[in-house]
């Protein structure tokens, strides 16, 4: 299969690229722009280049299309599913697996590596897989079906990532490691021990110092693994993740120089021993080292492309293998000389066994320069430490200040980012320097989102987001731009701060709030914000006279004002399930009051065209028919959309309607910074479109999957997978916490998506707070939610039972006349407001 290609025939320098992986793809993107160069790519995998770094997300529902790295440039010709078999250096041609012979002027080898599978007897049995390609993951997923136990061979970085995947598949998971510790390449003994404790606590069994001899038929499971110490382990599935080996076979056969333990030898220009052949990425060996990370590979791609363009100013001189990642929910980072092997080095270590934090820094002989670091459990300082090492910054007098907890407020010591030079690389995935970020800020990118979109910083692994934010804020401050987060001219506070003031000080009225914490009379920004805070904190009936002036008209009249000043009414139809009798009642009311009737996208019915004085009359009838308010007028929980699920659908796995009704009834009436939409699908076919909602729930064979922070509308956002395989109680518990944390901390009119994107640490942080309770807030959040649920009242029911409140539903204060200035037109059997050109000209 060939991907769309452009014309390369006019080019006078033909480049052939072997391997369409991450690095090959990056090279093609860069080289295709060089004038006079034609690029032809051969990729052996059955699909275009994809993001291998995020491969494990495939298990969490990210599709192969989502992982794809984008279409190759027009000017390149890409042959997918066609490998290169042979290089003829004399003829300067390559021969492909389809017998095609192609000439090259420059050949680029970007063949990556293959997973090393130790020579264990029985390693070829079914349900034994490596972990490198999408096809491998398909195989693992298939083997997981019907299995109960999974084993990962290899306790390194990738092995732990694979273990996480197996655990999420619901398997009892074991990690078997030959070495005495986990992640031996990156961590020292102390870090490894801490990690091991944390991993075990998460329910993954760790077996170190185990030499697997053979895999044979099992008794209770598919396989039985036998170890050199005469112990054994039964398992249904084995994943090999015991390291990688460079794919240098082509180079070897062609007589290029390769390393003793593999790898195609390259120089600073990424040239192999044949100057017409370059090698980049994981297959290349520079200075005796292989670089198994994507950033050094991208660097090589850049150098190789520059060389083609006759630009010798850039060179590859190795890369440090610092890494930061989250494994099984545990933050781990390793920087530079993590083991302290440099001569004269000394170390500082901080261990907190209660919070499970391990930090160690390695400093040079004089104690003035940082050589390396290990962080387990808390990696917030990763970016700063990495830059301190790379930029060779002089350390403070007491270097332990770098790892000791800063309890008063936290964050890096003030001014730390200022000391970084402009060349300091902040985002290593996309090689964005501090200078580039500062330049972007100067050109008007004043939010993290804007910096992201114009520099690409923090759009790779995202690990540098906190540091990017610090650079951004430091620069804004330097420019004297006041980062004004005030709610409005009346309150020098954010919504979040006001929320805390209200809750902590027990404030219940706007008068008190503005007197103590603001100035002036308030406005249409701060008043509704305060009303929503009071409602969320105290669940006071929103029609209480003291709150009346704070409400915008929709909240004031508990209906949605439309363009001609009339209102629409949306009764709650939980989960979209409605009895025929209720449907008839709705129809009768609509007919009686001549209300325009329309089905909404949230599976309810909207009745339009009511005047203020009609609202209580209509609601009295609706309440008699068993309806409740639908809160369509409020920044509140709106609908929980659902599909019919296991009740009727042949594919349904769980009762999505039942769950939707349960969720809707639980959270109805909850006031929030913005409207909240939910959906529940009965299986992964996702007919309820849960992944476009603030809270989306999808049934799977092993329980509910929870998605958060999606939305439709002007800026649609796909929701993020938050947790998988949940039972009913855990699902509800997580939603409780998630919603309350949002209510507590979001800004006014900030939807969950924007809120999450603005949280420092993003989704991972949110998970740590909500799932792992890293801030110790969970109990409080649940209690607050319980209060809101316990004190729920239908606002319309309360309104029509209260003569005083009914007073306000008058069209005119001094007349019982109705508003006869309204003009309607009948269309398709219903009435609608007249357009301007339909009005009799009468002025």
């Amino acid at each position: 299969m060939d991907l769309p290609s452009g014309q390369s025939s006019v080019a006078d320098h033909q480049v052939v690229v072997v391997g369409n992986g991450m690095v090959g793809h990056r090279f093609v993107e860069l080289a295709a722009d060089i004038p006079g160069v034609g690029v032809t790519v051969f990729g052996e995998e059955p699909r275009g280049a994809y993001d291998r770094v995020h491969l494990s997300e495939y298990f969490a529902g990210t599709s192969a299309d989502d992982l794809a790295l984008g279409t190759p440039p027009e000017a390149a010709t890409v042959h997918i599913g066609e490998g290169v078999q042979e290089i003829d250096r004399d003829a300067k041609t390559v021969t492909t697996t389809q017998g095609r012979i192609v000439e090259y002027d420059t050949l680029v080898l970007a063949t990556g590596s293959y997973p090393f599978v130790p020579p264990i007897e029985g390693r070829d049995r079914p349900h034994c897989h490596p972990y490198r390609t999408i096809e491998d993951l398909d195989g693992i997923q298939a083997s997981g079906v019907g299995g109960a136990v999974g084993v990962v061979v290899g306790g390194g970085l990738l092995g732990l990532e694979a273990a996480n995947a197996l655990k999420n598949m619901g398997l009892a998971t074991h990690v078997v490691e030959f070495a005495p510790g986990l992640m031996g390449t990156q961590l020292d003994d102390g870090g490894g021990t801490m990690l091991r404790g944390m991993v075990k606590k998460l329910g993954v069994e760790v077996h170190t110092g185990k030499n697997t001899l053979r895999i044979v038929d099992g008794e209770s499971s598919r396989h039985r693994m036998e170890f050199a110490d005469d112990t054994a382990l039964e398992t249904d599935l084995v994943v090999f993740s015991a390291g990688i080996r460079p794919r240098d076979e082509l180079a070897r056969d062609a007589g290029l120089e390769v390393g003793e333990r593999g790898g195609i030898v390259i120089d600073e220009g990424c040239r192999t021993s044949d100057p017409n052949i370059l090698a980049i990425g994981e297959c290349a060996l520079y200075d005796g080292r292989i670089f198994g990370l994507v950033a050094p590979g991208y660097e090589m791609a850049k150098v190789a492309a520059a060389g083609l363009a006759q630009d010798d100013s850039v060179a590859f001189r190795g890369a440090d293998m610092s890494t930061k990642l989250k494994l099984l929910g545990v933050d781990v980072a390793s920087i530079g000389d993590a083991h302290g092997r440099s001569r004269g080095a000394s170390t500082y270590t901080y261990i907190d066994e209660r919070e499970r934090v391990y930090k160690r820094i390695v400093v040079n002989k004089t104690g003035k320069k940082l050589l390396g670091a290990v962080l387990v459990g808390d990696t917030a300082d990763y970016g700063m430490l990495l830059q301190t090492m790379r930029s060779e910054l002089t350390l403070p007098k007491h270097p332990d200040a770098l790892i000791l907890p800063r309890r008063d407020g936290g964050g890096m010591p003030a001014g730390a980012v200022d000391s970084l030079p402009d060349e300091a690389q902040i985002c290593s995935c996309h090689d964005v320097s501090k200078g580039a970020i500062v330049a972007a800020v100067c050109e008007g990118a004043t939010t993290l989102g804007a910096v992201r979109s114009c520099t690409k910083a923090a759009t790779g692994c995202g690990g540098c987001a906190p540091l990017v934010t610090q650079v951004l804020n430091a620069e804004l401050e330097r420019q004297g731009v006041e980062i004004n987060t005030d709610l409005c001219e009346h309150f020098p506070h954010t919504r979040q701060e006001l929320y805390h003031l209200v809750r902590a000080r027990g404030i219940t009225t706007f008068a008190e709030l503005i007197e103590k914490h603001g100035r002036g009379r308030g406005c249409d920004i701060c008043k509704p914000a305060a009303a929503s805070i009071f409602a969320a904190c105290w669940n006071d009936h929103v029609l209480r006279p003291k709150h009346a002036p704070l409400q915008d008209t929709n909240d004031h009249f508990l209906a949605n004002m439309q363009k001609n000043g009339t209102y629409s009414i949306v009764p709650r139809v939980a989960g979209g399930e409605i009895t025929p009798d209720k449907l008839i009642a709705l129809g009768q009311v609509a007919k009686k009051y001549d209300l325009y009737t329309k089905i909404t996208g949230g599976q309810r019915i909207d009745l339009f065209g009511a005047q203020v004085h009609e609202l209580p009359l209509i609601w009295r009838e609706l309440i008699d028919a068993g309806f409740e308010t639908g809160h369509a007028y409020g920044k509140a929980v709106r609908t929980v959309k659902s599909c019919v699920g296991s009740t009727w659908c042949r594919y349904g796995v769980l009762d999505s309607v039942g769950m939707a009704i349960h969720i809707e009834n639980r959270y109805k009436g909850l006031r929030a910074p913005h409207k909240l939409k939910f959906a529940v699908s009965g299986c992964t076919r996702e007919c309820a479109e849960a992944q476009s909602k603030d809270v989306g729930v999808i049934a799977t064979e092993i329980g509910w999957n929870l998605y958060v922070c999606g939305n439709g509308g002007m800026r649609p956002r796909h929701a993020d997978l938050f947790a998988t395989g949940l039972d009913d109680a855990t699902l509800i518990q997580l939603i409780d916490r998630f919603l309350m944390f949002y209510v507590r901390t979001a800004d006014r009119l900030q939807r969950t998506s924007v809120w999450m994107e603005n949280l420092e640490g993003g989704l991972d942080y949110l998970k740590s707070v909500v799932i792992d309770d890293s801030l110790g807030l969970a109990a409080g959040l649940e209690a607050e939610m319980a209060h809101v649920i316990d004190t729920y009242k239908c606002e319309w029911k309360a309104a029509i039972e209260d003569e005083e409140k009914l007073q306000r539903f008058r069209t005119f204060v001094n007349s019982n006349r109705t508003d006869d200035s309204l003009v309607f037109v009948r269309e398709r059997g219903q009435r609608r407001p007249a357009f301007a050109d339909e009005l009799a000209v009468e002025v």
Binding site: E489, H490, A511, G520, R521, G522, C523, D524, C526, K527, P528, P545, A548, P549, L550, Q551, D552, T553, N554, H556, F557, M561, K563, N564, G565, R808, R810, T811, F812, V813, N814, S815, R817, D819, S821, V823, A836, L839, A840, E842, V843
Partner: protein, 145 residues
């Protein structure tokens, strides 16, 4: 549709006289009683029918005065201004239109966002606990309707 017809009767103070009020003097005005002051919740507007005109009335907390402006929002052309949120912006007393959110000065009727737009304002007074509106006369001139 109602329209502003007798909006701009020019009744300025007579030459040489010291005006006691800006605009027409109190005894020259036709006052229409509207409702009791208690019917107005502070900072919550109501709509009144004065003749055939729809007027938005506001009583502001801490102020004795009642403010009256045309209820029609010149932007949406809907009678909604009594249903906006009141407050102050840069020291001006304002109401925000609930449709497109422009702010109107309660004392002058001018729109803060668009100097070319404004609404009529009406004089009011409170007599023996009842709110009265000056009918047929306005303090300012509605434009943009």
């Amino acid at each position: 549709m109602n329209a502003s017809s007798s909006a701009n009767a020019p009744c300025g103070p007579e030459e040489g006289e010291t005006p006691s009020l800006q605009g027409p003097t109190a005894d020259m005005i036709d006052w229409t009683p509207v409702c009791s002051l208690d019917a107005l919740i502070p900072d919550v507007g109501v709509r009144a029918l004065v003749g055939e005109e729809q007027v938005a009335l506001f009583r502001l907390s801490g102020l004795g005065e009642v403010f009256a402006i045309d209820a029609f929002d010149p932007f949406s052309k809907a009678p909604v201004l009594s249903r906006g949120i009141v407050g102050d912006l840069n020291g001006q007393l304002v109401v925000a239109s609930p449709i497109f959110k422009q702010h109107f000065n309660l004392e002058t009727g001018s729109c803060l966002e668009d100097a070319a737009m404004s609404v009529r304002t009406y004089q009011t007074r409170v007599v023996a606990g009842r709110v009265e509106i000056a009918s047929g006369l306005s303090r300012g001139n509605g434009e943009g309707r």
